[in-house]
């Protein structure tokens, strides 16, 4: 078991939010969520630059470029080919060197979507230049360094956000709201899973398959499940029983399983596997059990089971309650691959406009996720505690009896009859 030692900052976890006495389970307005500029262009646009044009970088680039309150001034990457295409076919200014970009351009904010190992230095440079920073997940490979950057952002009062987009998926956000209503009473267990088809072959040449660069299922997939747990119920006090298996990757793990322990006695489990071909794309699921029922959510639907409805806000009924993404999701001004990607960037821009730094996914909350990630990595390296089953069961007798012989024998017979054509 590995304890998460850093307790220097306020812990969201284990501090139940008092229930709203006259709370409802209302649908929030679906018309007022556009950025204000869609109705009326702001006089001063927020000047943004973007670093890193990989999959997430290009996606962020397209989304933020359409934001009515943003002027995407420049992009930076090391691929000459991409820069040449964008330089020629878009209005974006391109840079190969991010220091030069920061020096040459007048900016308010940056979006950083480079490989994870580069985050820390780029975030620091941007903060030192006085910019608001949106950084892709995972935040920093070294949680200690991440904490320093969180403190730096807070000291400098810069808006800081990390791209844990599950916090902006309507079903998960609604689950969070219900927990704040104390719908489940005292919580006792949470389980979060992330499965998807990222690595299905024993090769791969990108940074995602290199441990030193922050690749692997733990950083890439499990971090989403961990962050979701942290978001919903707070971070655990300790972790244990971590399992990391390699299926196809040489350098990194392809699946991660672990237990979470909380000071108040609550427990949790996460399961992540990025080599699951049965899923079409990433599937994230979370289930939370409490004294008064259970919440289970994926990106599309939310199911709530309530035992005693006298304890819950109006609109939530005894027994099963179901809500779907179609009625929970707020519209966005621009859609690419999922509302959550637009919603998180809009959240960042709105925070800059309103001058508040407490985003829904701050550097500090991302550091908490990084801390759990590094605790899992340490736990995986530690000596594993196992309990054997006592004395070994007797070996399967060779005769006709036994479950396995009954199951296997017909096949073996078939095989032998095919190979030498002479069974019985």
């Amino acid at each position: 078991m590995i304890c998460l030692t850093d307790r220097s900052h306020p812990d969201e976890l284990g501090t139940p939010v008092p229930p709203l006495v006259s709370g409802r389970w209302p649908v929030e307005s679906r018309t007022s969520k556009f950025p204000s500029g869609i109705q009326q262009k702001e006089l001063s646009m927020i000047r943004v630059a973007l670093m890193g044009l990989g999959k997430m970088g290009l996606s962020h680039c397209a989304i933020i470029n359409t934001h009515p309150d943003v002027e995407l001034v420049a992009v930076c990457d090391t691929s000459d080919y991409l820069l040449s295409v964008l330089g020629r076919h878009t209005r974006l200014k391109t840079y190969r060197d991010c220091h030069r970009m920061l020096q040459s351009e007048t900016l308010d904010a940056v979006v950083i979507a480079t490989p994870s190992r580069l985050h820390a230095n780029m975030v620091r440079d941007a903060l030192m230049a006085g910019l608001h920073v949106f950084c892709e997940k995972p935040f920093c490979l070294d949680a200690e360094e991440g904490l320093q950057l969180a403190e730096l952002a807070e000291q400098r009062k810069r808006v800081n956000q990390v791209g844990y987009h599950h916090r902006f998926i309507a079903t998960f956000h609604e689950a969070k709201r219900l927990l704040e209503f104390n719908v489940l009473g005292k919580l006792h267990h949470i389980r979060a899973e992330a499965h998807g088809p990222v690595v299905l072959k024993p090769k791969g040449i990108t940074w995602r398959t290199h441990k030193q660069e922050g690749g692997g299922c733990l950083y890439d997939y499990a971090s989403h499940a961990i962050d979701l747990v942290n978001y919903l119920v707070g971070r655990p006090h300790s972790v244990g029983g971590t399992i990391m298996n390699r299926l196809y990757s040489g350098d990194v793990e392809d699946e991660v399983y672990a237990n979470f322990f909380y000071e108040n006695g609550m427990t949790g489990q996460i399961a992540a596997n990025w080599s699951d071909e049965s899923e079409r794309k990433m599937l994230t699921k979370v289930t939370i059990w409490g004294a008064n029922g259970k919440i289970s959510a994926d990106r599309q639907d939310l199911h709530v089971y309530v035992r005693d409805d006298s304890l819950v806000p109006e609109g939530v009924n005894r027994g099963w309650n179901a809500r779907y993404t179609t009625d929970l999701t707020d519209p966005v001004w621009f859609y690419l691959r999922g509302e959550e990607y637009s919603a998180q960037l809009n959240h960042f821009i709105e925070a800059i406009k309103s001058g508040r730094c407490d985003t829904r996914s701050t550097f500090r909350s991302a550091v908490e996720t990084d801390m759990v990630v590094s605790a899992l990595a340490r736990d995986n390296e530690a000596i594993r505690t196992e309990t054997d089953l006592g004395h070994a069961p007797a070996e399967e007798p060779q005769g006709e009896t036994g479950l396995w012989s009954a199951v296997l024998r017909p096949k073996q017979r078939d095989a032998s009859s095919r190979s030498n054509g002479a069974y019985l």
């Binding site: 964008l86 330089g87 994926d298 509302e339």
Partner: protein
């Protein structure tokens, strides 16, 4: 009379409301014969257009249709390219440049250009676009493909980046090479219309969500209603039921009231479902007329 188009999401485990439903459908249509059976039902109900992603399994459907020309005499495909997950997975595995290369013919001049340090000329981009389109279109050889669509992930990515030239390159290539009309699938129809107009693509075919709850209609329901009523384009409505969030009768009545919507894509999968949807569309379209 509205044209009814059979969509393919239900065949490939895509459902925007429920993962469970999506999986049940993926299991149901695991065998290509189950998809063909659904297509046959639709065809016998008078539906002649199948709008499908260039998913690798669609090539089996193409083989079947090619092998039975009499049965599918009037059957046309509206290919939608590319199947984005194929590219996204390749990008994760091989990086952006490696992924592009993997979809191009080997030892190609363009393939050599990508990733090089030199700047790329417009004609190179055109050739690259052409090669990628041709790779996606291979499976439809010998079949009727009067409209070829750019899938929404790509349309909207290009739209967001402001790469309007790419829309022109796509349009010109599908016209020239396949004698087809270009179509664009989008979740951002109002913004896309502006972009297409700016780059001179007149009266475009635009397929987007049109449903009475405004689900995935960026810009808002009112703006969609306004563009449908006033702008010059050929709208095709999809996600009319908003993945089942709106009762069929209500949903179809709404879409049929929108002027100018000539075609509706729907993703029914059982005989009863296909027949009922067809009847509802016919009835409401007649009422609206």
């Amino acid at each position: 009379m509205k044209q009814i188009i059979l969509g393919d999401n239900q065949f490939f485990g895509i459902n925007h409301m429920s993962e469970e439903k999506a999986r049940a459908q993926a299991i149901k249509f695991q065998d290509i014969s189950a998809i063909i059976e659904a297509i046959d039902i639709a065809y016998d109900e008078g539906i002649r257009v199948f709008m499908c992603t260039t998913h690798e399994r669609v090539s089996d459907i193409c083989d079947h249709v090619r092998a039975n020309p009499e049965r599918y005499k009037d059957f046309v495909f509206y290919p939608c390219m590319p199947y984005a997950h194929k590219y996204a997975n390749a990008v994760t595995e091989k990086g952006m440049v490696g992924a592009l290369r993997s979809f191009l013919p080997e030892e190609n001049m363009i393939s050599a250009l990508i990733g090089g340090a030199m700047s790329v000329a417009r004609k190179d981009i055109e050739r690259l676009g052409g090669l990628l389109i041709d790779a996606e279109m291979k499976m439809f050889r010998g079949l009727q493909t009067p409209v070829i669509f750019l899938q929404n992930v790509v349309t909207d990515l290009l739209l967001g980046l402001g790469m309007k030239d790419a829309f022109v390159i796509f349009s010109e290539h599908v016209k020239r090479r396949y004698g087809a009309e270009p179509g664009f699938i989008t979740m951002n129809a109002p913004l896309l219309l502006d972009a297409l107009e700016e780059c001179g693509i007149d009266n475009p075919i635009v397929c987007s969500n049109v449903n009475k709850i405004g689900f995935r209609m960026c810009g808002g329901l009112e703006r969609y209603e306004a563009i449908i009523a006033t702008r010059r384009f050929r709208p095709i409505a999809m996600s009319v039921l908003a993945s089942g969030a709106i009762p069929a009768d209500e949903a179809i009545a709404y879409v049929c009231r929108q002027p100018k919507i000539e075609s509706i894509v729907f993703g029914a999968s059982s005989r009863q479902n296909i027949r009922q949807t067809k009847q509802l569309i016919d009835r409401h379209a007649a009422q609206a007329a």
